[in-house]
Symmetry: C2
Subunit: 143 residues, 2 copies
DNA sequence: TAAGATACAACGAAGTTCGGACTATTCAAT
DNA sequence: ATTGAATAGTCCGAACTTCGTTGTATCTTA
């Protein structure tokens, strides 16, 4: 298969660039100091992996464990995250969201949902499926 | 036109999520301490807008001017950016890239180019055009 | 020509990242 | 059983970044 043309590459570049600046989504909880980017990522990850350990999260997000420790500290301090020692391995800690953390995560997810909605609404019904299929291919079929 | 389905929204969400983690591109100049995200953005902007002022950049990137001042400071200190008083308005400063800055920017652009290349290479020739058309529609036709 | 708007920079407080050192456990191999 | 190595996490502190406040020229305009 022939290579993409320079025009295509350039077009994709400007599109992504604009994209990134445009869809810099706002925080759920306003008023309070917004969470650090990392903290939000941690929250979202734990939302889908209740009981996981800090190391799991650190590996997934590709940050040093000490950095992740800071993040969980902040989240616990804010009452969004729970840290519990577990029986099976007493060195380990199990992370899970508190009531408030769950609410925050849901708000965040909802915000994303609306953003995606807005994006897809620009495409026709058939285009939507095609677009999703393509971006999925790009994301997952990469060596 | 009917709304996107929940399935579509969910699929797009996971795709983007993975996308963001996967394509966290490395820095051009390794070895030295990597530039802050903001600094890279500034460099890329100035590369395309030689002679612009700090305020322009700040507005474009949506950060406070003081923050941008810090960024230009760092860049100047590293020898990547030049700051020059201009005649027309002596309060103003004209930003432009130094030799090294230009090299850095080019390296960065090249890295992006390769990333886009990798992405598009996953699609067939016709898909590429369609994909670019769609993402462009999404990015630019948004209220 | 004085009052106000502009373009920036200096300073400093508050926060984030992450390497190094340290504690508590668990595992593995005598 | 015992001990030496790996593991899970945390604590500490240095180096950075962000951004509000304050201050300084320099236009602008009434």
């Amino acid at each position: 298969m022939s290579d993409p043309t320079e025009d295509q590459l350039a077009a994709l570049g400007t599109a992504f660039d604009t994209f990134a600046r445009r869809y810099k989504l706002a925080d759920a909880r306003r008023s309070e100091r917004p969470l650090a980017e990392l903290d939000k990522a941690v929250l979202l990850y734990v939302a889908d992996h209740a009981g996981c350990g800090p190391t799991d999260v650190a590996r997934f997000l590709a940050v040093p464990t000490t950095t992740l420790s800071s993040a969980t500290d902040r989240l616990v301090k804010r009452g969004l995250l729970k840290r519990e020692r577990i029986e099976a391995d007493r060195r380990a800690v199990a992370l899970s969201l508190s009531e408030a953390g769950t609410a925050y995560a849901q708000g965040q997810v909802e915000t994303y949902r609306q953003m995606y909605m807005l994006m897809l609404s620009r495409l026709s019904a058939e285009e939507r499926d095609r677009f999703i299929a393509m971006i999925t291919k790009i994301v997952y079929n990469d060596d």
